[in-house]
């Protein structure tokens, strides 16, 4: 069986500072992997390399055995063409900490934009798909609202619908509840749990430990640009093998 995601020896530098120092990660279809770790450990950067929002200088990322972002021609590693990278970005969907909804478009149009411009669907087809996903995240009634008229939790759910409507193989979530008021966190986590139940493959950066414990079949602990520890959350959270993870868990809240 081919792996859904295969990251090998991923290295990423910003100028002289190396922020990813050789990361490996595998995911099979249907896996739900949560990435935890203190701020600055490289969680966001890893996610952003997977969909080429960041360039990386070493290692490979493969999705369904297809090499992402770079190709080797005559022994020289070089960035793929922009069109090719744009196509590869469709293999993944991403939800951001700051939602990043398009403020001039309604919830519905936020979801249909990619379906129409990228997937070249007709307006009617795009609308059908968008409405189905807005219904799934509980916002069909708000489809004609602009982002500014929605609460943070609602905006994040629209953003998730926008990403998933493109039918990605793998969903990337980057601290999607960190910018939310506490009372809005659960409605977003619930949407993600529903997706997990449907078998969606997801790589989720989160600070919500209880959520990670409940939803993940594997947890990755990032520490200073490396994977510090990984495994089943039921074992990791109870008996951490490394001092670092024990420290980190002590300072985290399980709410």
């Amino acid at each position: 069986m081919t792996k859904l995601l295969e990251i090998r020896d991923l290295h990423k530098r910003y100028g002289a500072t190396e922020v990813l120092k050789g990361v490996d990660c595998d995911m099979a279809k249907g896996d739900v992997v949560c990435v935890i770790g203190s701020s600055g450990s490289g969680k966001t950067t890893m996610l952003r390399c997977i969909n080429m929002l960041e360039e990386f200088q070493g290692g490979t990322i493969r999705i369904n055995d297809e090499e992402i972002g770079y190709e080797t021609v005559g022994g020289m590693r070089r960035r793929k063409r922009e069109r090719e990278i744009a196509r590869q970005r469709l293999l993944t969907g991403m939800a951001f900490q700051q939602f990043n909804l398009f403020p001039h478009l309604t919830a519905l149009d936020n979801v249909t934009l990619g379906l129409i411009k990228v997937k070249k669907l007709s307006r009617a087809e795009a609308r059908t798909i968008a409405e189905r996903w807005l219904e799934r995240v509980g916002l069909l009634a708000r489809k004609d609202h602009y982002p500014g008229q929605l609460s943070g939790g609602q905006q994040q759910r629209v953003a998730i619908a926008r990403a998933i409507a493109m039918n990605p193989l793998l969903m990337l979530f980057d601290e999607v509840t960190s910018a939310l008021d506490p009372e809005l966190v659960n409605e977003v986590l619930q949407v993600i749990k529903d997706l997990a139940r449907d078998g969606m493959s997801m790589l989720i950066v989160t600070h919500e430990m209880r959520f990670a414990y409940e939803v993940a079949n594997r947890v990755i602990f990032m520490n200073q640009g490396r994977i510090g520890e990984e495994g089943d959350p039921r074992e990791m959270f109870v008996t951490p093998k490394t001092e670092r993870l024990a420290e980190f868990l002590k300072t985290s809240t399980f709410r």
């Binding site: 969909n51 929002l53 970005r89 990043n100 398009f102 934009l113 990228v118 500014g148 990403a163």
Partner: protein, 220 residues
Amino acid sequence: MGYTLNFDAVWRSFDRLLAGLGLSLMLAIVAIAIGCVIGLVVAFALRSPSGLLRRPAGLYVTVIRNTPILVLVLFTYFALPQLGVRLDKINSFIATLAIYSGAYLAEVFRAGLIAVPPGLREAGLAIGLTEMQIRTSITLPVMLRNVLPALSSTFISLFKDTSLAAAIAVPELTFEARKINVETFRVVETWIVASCLYVATCTVLAALMRRIERRLAILR
């Protein structure tokens, strides 16, 4: 003061003032429309990572914004023919105002582009849009909504700059007013009426822009 107002002579020539105003508007609309295209391209160039685009765009904006528009008008009309570029009065002025407005609009648009959150581009990339699709479907519409208030005052000030066409005898509003002034000697009346026409037009323009602003406002 010893000056009694008498508008009779001005009213008799009022249709000429209106025709002048019509030409002023035409000059402004054509020049600003071209200026908007120049301004957009230059604004994106100013934000480009490539110095090959950024530097010439920056030079253009600096040179134009630091040259008085009257000098540009006279240069285009009197100096360019010496260099082999011959334009009639009206086209010469339109070209000047277009290039002039392009530099000012580029600055307005550039400020608007800075105010577009970079996360929108990344969200666009993440759903597979190309850079060009992001520019046209996201960056541009969001930026335009950001700049509408600033755009309104820039348009008005550019419209008023059409009065400088009088310097090369383009028969727009100011030129017609000066002719009527000379013919009738009703100095005060002529310039009062001409000023009122400018004020009225600018007021209508501002109201129009406010309506567009309200229509397109991003709901928050």
